[in-house]
Symmetry: C2
Subunit: 219 residues, 2 copies
């Protein structure tokens, strides 16, 4: 009745959603930012309730959305998409700008940025949808926007479990009996969440998704 591959036909962009309340800045990646009305100019975005960014937006009632360009690096996406703002000052590692209300946005590797005042919060269960009015909108450079399809197909990107469009990976088919043995270890990329299954990885092996490193996680 539900073929999950049907959801791969839905088209999205890729955005850094950020906010700041006092000294507390936070940002994360979302694909659900969209314009919902033309007059007034209203937009919406759905974010997981457990994201630090969500709680900062709920207190500040404001957020920025930076539309990532195709040239955005996997390191930038890894920083904002696969780490928590609780543990990391995400804006320390990128070129950030500041909007009229003092909120950060991504000033490089982005093709447009928006500043939004929140008017409504819609409870979606695991996520909250913020609806708000656009107070600032700026074209940042001539780069093409990164689409979610480009992120997955061309850049080999992954979707983390707290994303609106997360679909659990199907369990790998078991190898025919006696033909190959299961690897002893799984290796988790701490930046982008990609996993490799192998007994060993060569010295200096880097993550094929984001170009960063691996940690051995389980037997």
């Amino acid at each position: 009745m539900i073929d999950q591959t049907a959801f791969f036909s839905l088209s999205y962009g890729l955005y850094v959603i950020a906010s700041k309340d006092g000294d507390r800045a936070a940002g994360c990646i979302a694909n659900t930012f969209q314009q919902v009305t033309a007059s007034p100019l209203q937009v919406s975005v759905a974010l997981h309730k457990d994201n630090v960014t969500t709680s900062v937006i709920r207190s500040s009632k404001r957020f920025t959305a930076s539309c990532l360009s195709r040239e955005a690096s996997m390191e930038l996406i890894g920083t904002f998409g696969f780490h928590s703002s609780k543990d990391l000052d995400k804006f320390a590692s990128c070129i950030a700008g500041s909007d009229g209300a003092g909120l950060p946005f991504i000033a490089e590797q982005a093709c447009a940025r928006f500043s939004v005042r929140v008017l409504q919060e819609v409870d979606l269960g695991s996520h909250i949808m913020f609806v708000g009015e656009v107070e600032e909108a700026e074209k940042l450079d001539a780069g093409e926007p990164m689409t979610y399809a480009h992120y997955h197909v061309v850049k080999g990107g992954k979707t983390p479990p707290k994303a609106s469009s997360y679909i659990p990976e199907a369990p790998k088919a078991a190898a025919p009996s006696g033909e190959t043995s299961q690897p002893t270890y799984a290796w988790l990329c701490e930046v982008c969440g990609h996993m490799e299954y192998a007994d060993e990885l060569p010295d200096g092996y880097v993550c094929p998704v984001c170009g960063v490193g691996f940690k051995k996680v389980e037997a």
Copy 2:
């Protein structure tokens, strides 16, 4: 403060949203259909309050979303996007399927289709956002999804005034005095809304956007 060209960086697909209540079927085009939570599988779509489809969804509490493929014809888009279900049986001119609840969907020129039971209505002013749980999802063929950018750039498509992403066209710059005269007539394509400005159009001239006809609309 607000550069409207920044909104051109946002990425969307193109969907036929349809519903049926008793014998009353309706459908329209929207770019705002998206997945908003993974568990349960919830989606949302924002539709103008004046659309017939919106009122049929409000009474039936169900809708389908058909994800148009790149091969979708401008005639199909013209029929669903630039006409009212009040005046036209839109499903008479296309290959439609019927879901488990008897609602129509687009069975050709679409790469996936979804059936949704509405759980929430969010009032956005001009539009209503419907949030619901997916009850059916099916991949329809191997075609690539039509993106909103492809519709605009490759197919030369237009956005009608009731769309979430409508941006009024900037008034044309006045011709330098005495150099050229303003055309006497505007010609409106009744299928897709494209306008041409000319004193006359040649016999048999077809709309460059959707390939259909023109009507003289104003002096």
